[in-house]
Symmetry: C2
Subunit: 183 residues, 2 copies
């Protein structure tokens, strides 16, 4: 089985919400699933080609245009449900921030503080995006079916971002103590 099942899941899933081109697929995945998923061009087109070979998606040429819209076949929907039912394969974590803090003794408190500040800022920006996403989801008529589930992922993002902010504040306090050793 070439092409990761997980990429197929994301692609079939996105097409289950609405048919679209490969290009749009990448934009949707980046903009909508971006906080917890990513696919690159180099994966999307070959994966689409294979899904087409297996009759799981259908390409519909737009009249007088080179671009084509992909949509799920019945077999594609069945396949998607099968993939979703499989246990999520745990992704190998690679958190560059934590790696740096872990060896922070080599870096010094100042640089660590800056890393934590950056992380906090990013979490705050995530929080803003999540709020915007929530109202988009609630107002998009294409998403009435999917909305309750999508909202779960948005809530997860918010919880995670708030946890990061709370942790960052604690961490900054700790780092300040390290900076000025008691005299």
């Amino acid at each position: 089985m070439p092409r990761s099942d997980q990429s197929q899941t994301a692609i079939l899933g996105a097409l289950s919400i609405m048919p679209m081109t490969g290009y749009a697929l990448r934009e949707e995945i980046r903009d909508t699933l971006g906080h917890f998923w990513s696919e690159s061009f180099g994966q999307i087109y070959p994966a689409l080609a294979e899904l087409e070979r297996n009759r799981l998606v259908e390409r519909r040429q737009v009249e007088g245009s080179r671009s084509s819209t992909f949509s799920l076949t019945d077999a594609g929907i069945a396949h998607l449900r099968g993939l979703l039912a499989e246990a999520p394969q745990p992704s190998k974590p690679r958190n560059g921030l934590m790696l740096r803090l872990f060896f922070g003794a080599q870096l010094g408190p100042e640089a660590c503080k800056q890393l934590v500040l950056d992380a906090r800022e990013q979490a705050e920006s995530t929080l803003t995006h999540m709020e915007a996403a929530r109202s988009e989801v609630l107002h998009d008529p294409d998403l009435v079916q999917a909305a309750p589930y999508i909202l779960l992922t948005i809530t997860a993002g918010e919880h995670s971002a708030r946890a990061t902010i709370a942790w960052a504040n604690e961490a900054l306090a700790q780092l300040s103590d390290l900076e000025t050793p008691r005299r």
Copy 2:
């Protein structure tokens, strides 16, 4: 520059805390950094070989044994500091749980609930591990220098796990509402 800088950072960092064999390196990374980092055998040995070629680590053969201990050279410490100072490269997220929930309409509330239950259980287990790790770090004499920084990463893990648990409880309530549509 072959071999990701990030792998080198993890390896040099681990060796900065204490010299060890390649085998031990993998065990340490799995057991100690496991919650936010991973390296596999296939990366560690080639990376060590290259670090050795660049005189960033030194191999010391143990008397009458085939195994050897790697330790940092002065250039290695300098290199490590340089790597740590670089901005963490954001890892492409791939959260299988969120992917499944996002398309949960295809899966149904029951299966989604099970996924969330599993996630909560895992977070609870993480919380237990973090507690154990904290007391280990506080009692290991090799870690006196590094401890304050390592504790930051443990605290981060705890915040994140607690956020997951809180979210899971909310999500389960939402999913129950979906299961029994009002009549």
